[in-house]
Symmetry: D2
Subunit: 352 residues, 4 copies
């Protein structure tokens, strides 16, 4: 159990390195008799693809998914679903000089410290390409949730210091930035172009809303719904902070402000973010994550090499200015996986 | 697996309700031949005890721990350590009227929705008393970490809107608030007394520092060290937000600001919070959690009863103004448990 | 995870040493709203009690169970059920000379080799008293199965070389030997008295039948129903062999003999023992286990001490001639736990 | 967790159907820095290949393994090892008539009962081809064990009613039957040819010996070494009985016969089969499994179809007479996986 699996009843295992032969995921515990096609998965994969907007990497990742098992005549059979993406368009030459360098902000040093060996090409296992498997599994999870009318929507709440002012859900799909505020989106695009010219990168904030989640999901006391969501989201490389509901604002609130009064039509506000005592309460689940700037910048940086000697270096290659557009998709995937898992766990408890 | 266990190799299982016969924890996977006494555990338990300062509950929780197994002649044997705390000083009468009420901010509604039954007395399983088992297990974990010279320190960084300005580690132990800034501590105590008179409660922020953690702990990609820490901390009832290192500040940073340069003497700053790619890098691990105000306020609140009819109620009983002092201890315990688990996982990987 | 937990959704964790303060079990994942009393559990505990027949130990184990959590007003709440049995009537003096001796057939040597420390009193954690927790958890599992009309019956098929010829289920409860063949039971009792006089002990065979198990339980490919049953039964200290259905007889069969033809009323015979491809098929589940003689004999034995010097010793103390009566109860408990776990896992899969 | 994973620290997940696109395995937790090539794995795969002897299926399974991840420049990196085998030479036509038939002795009926859907082609997920992934993972585990000088040898102890009389380890590799008794091997081959002509199939017994296992492996009380071995072996489709050490013979033994005396040079006999109290004692580990005849016979059989109407059918296609040769290899793989897992678990416990 080297940490590459997630989930209890709906359990995924991802594998693969950035410049290896392929990446993929095995999903164990998908309910049977569910319609599922490669296209269902490809659609999600295409959303996480870079190279489609300002500030995005020109790497042409086709990332064609292939379902190798678990589906028979268009339906899930209850057996493991194995999904494969071959690595194409891979040129490892630019990474050759990083074989013995530890790039700041990357996992080079820590993988070396942990394992005594690492695949330095493109970050190896620590590459963002690992999330291909998560997104593929998330696509399957979303199909399960659809059957229960549970919907997950993520959007960009801040990028490069620009915050959204309004939320128009209709705007989200219009740009690759997934920004629900048109004006903010324009400013974000401008900021991206600026920073791209400087060879630098940008962080931001993603918000995720879950609609239609029934009350009862989540297993106290350690597998609280928000605890599993926090783990799922914090396991995404670039995420450095997580909030549920009112988040850090609770620190300055009074109890009388923070408690959500309960009325006959449900909760009268939602500072709890849809979860009480680790169990969903039927309101929207509200999550917020802080995303750090991509560490691969085109400016010169100081570091050390494997001989512990100082070294300067500059990332060439192709890199996005911000992970935000992709991270939206990955966040949705991880939330979908957690909810599906807890949905199945809850079904096990219910009386027939 | 109803969610009451945590950890992989160092695995704890807590049990017990607020007004049941007892609460406790079973620790499976504690390394053998380690000196361990009831006193080692009692010391930590006493730190989480309420009733010792301004704004704290007068409930006299003695909470005497009893070790029932796993220790022989003062040393751990490698077999499960079972720790018991009997519930004494329990008066369930004040809760009788809440049998059919769903208190705002509490888990009453969601436990009922999930299980169709609940022990309403003192919050039942959702009570903060559940953390007794966590703190006892954390005391054991701390003993394991001590042997590796790993130390965990938590302190109160904000309470009731008052932030600390300076950090003097020597101040932390001086007050029950665990505040490292003397002046802020005075202001916090004042704020607590004020709010206590109003019958209201306060939230705050706790910061946790881990010193001496060697590089190499954490298992990518899902069991990243920060992911397991996030789950551990978010599984504490009152926690609504989590940050690692620079936390939400990364959202506004440039990559060139956020990356920690690596020099010959180590990392030149620590915005990463001691973890890169899910693996500890040898620097201090820096965590920050937002704690909501205790939902049990003495003001009248609106809610509904089990018949879905509106109801007003007011909490009588005895309650703290802020969970912050206790949560410090619980946070330390959870961090200790995660680190011990990953320490053992890392040992399994190492070459002999 | 020191190996003291078993199960996935219905998960038990046992703890305690033979001469420690107490032994017990925590059950996590018990379905809510199920009637359950201490008497339900005590009844099963009393069945595993020694000291009630020929060849049994005179140790007066009262073994009063106490339920500490998870039950509210007579019903399960879905939270962990903690069950405690205090050790009484414990005299560790006879074990003092074994502190540095490795008793043949016991786990003394291997615990020392593994942990570098052991509680030598009464076998410590390796004592048959550990099964108290299993039997208590099994009693809870049986209550779950009762609701689904699943019944588990075990009986003694051989003891001290005496095989049963006939199976009369009505006979089983009549004697403590749980022998379904009256004549065989008489011969077994005679054999026990004989061997008791010699200071020796006897092995035997237990068979277990599960009636009413619906088709569909078991998770291929590793968590096959028979695989989990095999693990559960082989985890009982004295068990050295396991058969499902025709068992070792299949080795000499032709395919045409071994296959169970399927007719309109179901399977026409049951050499498969109720499981095909790891999944229950609706027929009775048939299991058979070989139980070794209790290693504590009153004859002089050769061994070595902790200094690796030869030593002779003779067990004094109080010991049964055969584990068979108790092992019946433990086998039923373990089978009940496996079935309950798989029942819950199957419920998670079913369409609502 | 649909049951397709096995192991705790060395954890494998197999996937794939007999007539799907591919089959494979993901291995999580392989120690880093270990030399490993596709050839290491291919060698083991070739041993389980049918079509090489009397009574074997003519299906030309090339079964070329491809390592897709986890190996960098010839060495393991500590990240998951994904291994793929494409299905070639697949003709599903002969299975078309079995789409709605439940074949006796197969899992057709139970998969349908459990999942409400199944891939009927070649047995789908219940096919013996699933063991490809096990054998590939076993090859990796064997490399880990080699470094610790632990060796696993399996051989055929009985086939079609013919028992071995002598054990000459040099004989095992000489024939595909892996029989250590030359004369018995000749008789077995004769029996196979005879039964092949009749269109029937044969069962047998496989024995497995582990040499060089150090004391200390195994985690009491549920994850006893023999319990995990029993689960591992019973999870192989055709296995119906398991013995450790003296196995079922213990039922007729006296305690004084069964106990292995301990002398200064170790245990003086090995009826315990190398495990005491769930922990290896340093002696050879001795296991024995009963293997049922392959259920696909060429004789006419009675069954029912999906409409629960009686149906006669006769398997055409290509099938082995006995699974014994392949099962040897699969048993070795499963034993290797269990030992590797427990080796890593034990390393986590050891003092540095």
């Amino acid at each position: 159990m080297g940490g590459n699996s997630f989930g209890t009843l709906f359990r995924i295992t991802t594998w693969g390195e950035s410049h290896g032969k392929a990446l993929g995921v095995v999903i164990d515990g998908c309910p049977p008799q569910m319609k599922l096609s490669e296209e269902d998965i490809q659609k999600e994969m295409d959303k996480r693809r870079p190279g489609q907007g300002a500030g995005s990497s020109p790497r042409k990742e086709r990332d064609r998914v292939e379902i190798l098992s678990g589906i028979f005549e268009g339906k899930s059979t209850g057996t493991p679903i194995s999904i494969l993406v071959r690595n194409e368009d891979v040129d490892s030459t630019p990474y050759e000089e990083m074989r013995d360098l530890f790039r700041p902000g990357h996992a080079d040093f820590t993988y070396q410290a942990k394992y005594g060996i690492r695949d330095h090409r493109g970050g190896g296992r620590a590459s963002a390409r690992e999330t291909l498997g998560r997104v593929a599994a998330g696509a399957v999870a979303k199909r399960v949730l659809e059957q229960e009318n549970i919907e997950i929507i993520s959007y960009t709440a801040a990028l490069g210091g620009i915050q959204i002012d309004t939320i128009d859900f209709g705007e989200i799909g219009k740009t690759r930035l997934r920004c629900p505020d048109h004006q903010a989106a324009v400013a974000m695009e401008k900021r991206i172009r600026e920073v791209k010219r400087q060879g630098d990168t940008l962080g931001g904030i993603v918000e995720i809303v879950v609609r239609g989640c029934p009350p009862g999901l989540g297993e106290p006391v350690f597998d609280k719904l928000e605890a599993d969501l926090a783990k799922a989201l914090m396991s995404i490389g670039a995420v450095r902070g997580i909030e549920i509901g009112a988040g850090f604002k609770v620190a300055g609130m009074l109890g009388s402000e923070c408690n959500d009064p309960i009325g006959q039509k449900g909760f009268e506000k939602n500072d709890a973010g849809g979860i009480l005592g680790g169990i969903s309460n039927g309101e929207d689940i509200l999550l917020r994550v802080a995303v750090k700037p991509i560490p691969s910048i085109h400016l010169e940086q100081m570091t050390i090499n494997a001989a512990f000697q100082p070294a300067k270096f500059r990332v060439e290659g192709r890199h996005d200015v911000s992970a935000i557009p992709r991270i939206n998709v990955v966040c949705e995937a991880m939330v979908a996986i957690v909810l599906t898992d807890h949905l199945l766990r809850q079904k096990a408890l219910e009386r027939r």
